[in-house]
Amino acid sequence: MSTHKSSFPWNHLVGFILSIALTLLAVFIKFKTDFSDTVILWTIGTLAIFQALIQLFMFMHVTEGNEGKINVINIIYSVFLALVIVFGSIWVLTTGHAAH
C-alpha cells in the first residue's frame, strides 16, 4: 500500500455512498411503506447490519494485517456475546420470569 500511491480512495467513496443509501432506505421503509411493525423492524435491522459490515470491511479493514483472522474471530465472538446479552435480557425480563 505505502510503496505505490493509490490515487483515489474508491473503497471509501463506495462505502460512504452505500451507507447514505442504506440510511435513507431505512427512513423510507419506516415512514413511507405500509408493512407491519415487525416486518419494518426486521428490515431496517438488516439494513443496519449491512451498514455496520460496510464500516468494518471498507473503512476499518478488519481483515487487514497479520492478525486479520484473529480480528474477525474476536469481532464475531463479541457480536455473539452482544446478541446473547440483548436477546437474553429481553427474553428473561419480558416473559414473566421476574414475577416469580
Binding site: 471509501h12 451507507s19 440510511t23 431505512a26 419506516k30 476499518m60 492478525e67 484473529i70 456475546l81
Partner: protein
C-alpha cells in the same frame, strides 16, 4: 500481507501490530458494553411511567442531521488514513480536522437534543425509558467527546513529529475508534430512533 514492503507503516513494528490487535480486542469489549446498554433500553423502553415516550420527543430532522454528520465524519476519518498511507501529511491533517469539526457538530446537535428532551419533560429521572435512553445516548456522546480530545492531541504529535511508524500506528488506532462510534450510532439510529418514532 506477508511481505514487509507492502505493509502499511502502522503495521511495520511488532509492537504496533500488537497495539492494533489489542485495540480490536478493546473494541470487542466495547461491543459488549454497548450491548448491555441496548439490552436495558429494550427492556425498559415501554416503561414511561406516565411521562413522554419516544414518539413524543424524537425529532426526525435532528436525528437525520446527527446521523449525516457522524456518517460523513467516519468517511473523512477514512480519507485521513488514506492520506496517511500515501505519506501525505497535509491531507492527513486537513481530513482529520474536518472529521473533528463534524464530530463537534454532532455533539452540538446532541446536546441541543438533550435540552429539547428535558424541555419536553423527559429528564433522566422521569422514567425507566428516559433513564435507559439518556444512559445509552450519553455513553455514546461521551465516547465522541473523548475521541475529539484524543485525536486533537494526536494532531499535535503529527505536527511535531510527522508521519512515523509510531504516530501512524496511533492514528490508525484512533481511526478504528472513530469508525466504531459510527457503527454504534447506526444501531442507535435504527433501534432507538426509527423504532421509537410514530409513523
Amino acid at each position: 500481507m506477508t511481505s514487509n514492503t507492502h505493509t502499511p507503516l502502522e503495521y511495520r513494528s511488532h509492537q504496533s501490530q500488537m497495539n492494533i490487535l489489542g485495540f480490536w480486542v478493546f473494541l470487542g469489549a466495547e461491543i459488549v458494553l454497548f450491548s448491555t446498554l441496548f439490552a436495558s433500553y429494550f427492556v425498559l423502553e415501554h416503561n414511561t411511567a406516565g411521562g413522554p415516550g419516544g414518539s413524543d420527543i424524537f425529532v426526525l430532522k435532528d436525528v437525520m442531521i446527527e446521523t449525516f454528520l457522524l456518517l460523513t465524519s467516519s468517511f473523512t476519518a477514512g480519507l485521513a488514513i488514506h492520506s496517511m498511507r500515501n505519506n501525505n501529511r497535509n491531507g492527513l491533517l486537513i481530513w482529520t480536522i474536518i472529521t473533528l469539526l463534524l464530530g463537534a457538530g454532532f455533539l452540538y446537535m446532541e446536546i441541543n437534543e438533550f435540552l429539547h428532551f428535558i424541555h419536553e419533560g423527559a429528564t433522566i429521572q422521569t422514567s425507566g425509558f428516559t433513564a435507559a435512553l439518556f444512559t445509552l445516548l450519553g455513553t455514546h456522546g461521551a465516547h465522541v467527546t473523548f475521541g475529539i480530545f484524543w485525536i486533537s492531541l494526536l494532531l499535535v504529535q503529527i505536527v511535531k513529529r510527522g508521519i512515523t511508524e509510531k504516530t501512524a500506528s496511533k492514528f490508525f488506532i484512533a481511526s478504528l475508534y472513530w469508525h466504531f462510534l459510527d457503527v454504534v450510532w447506526i444501531f442507535i439510529f435504527t433501534f432507538v430512533y426509527l423504532k421509537g418514532m410514530a409513523i
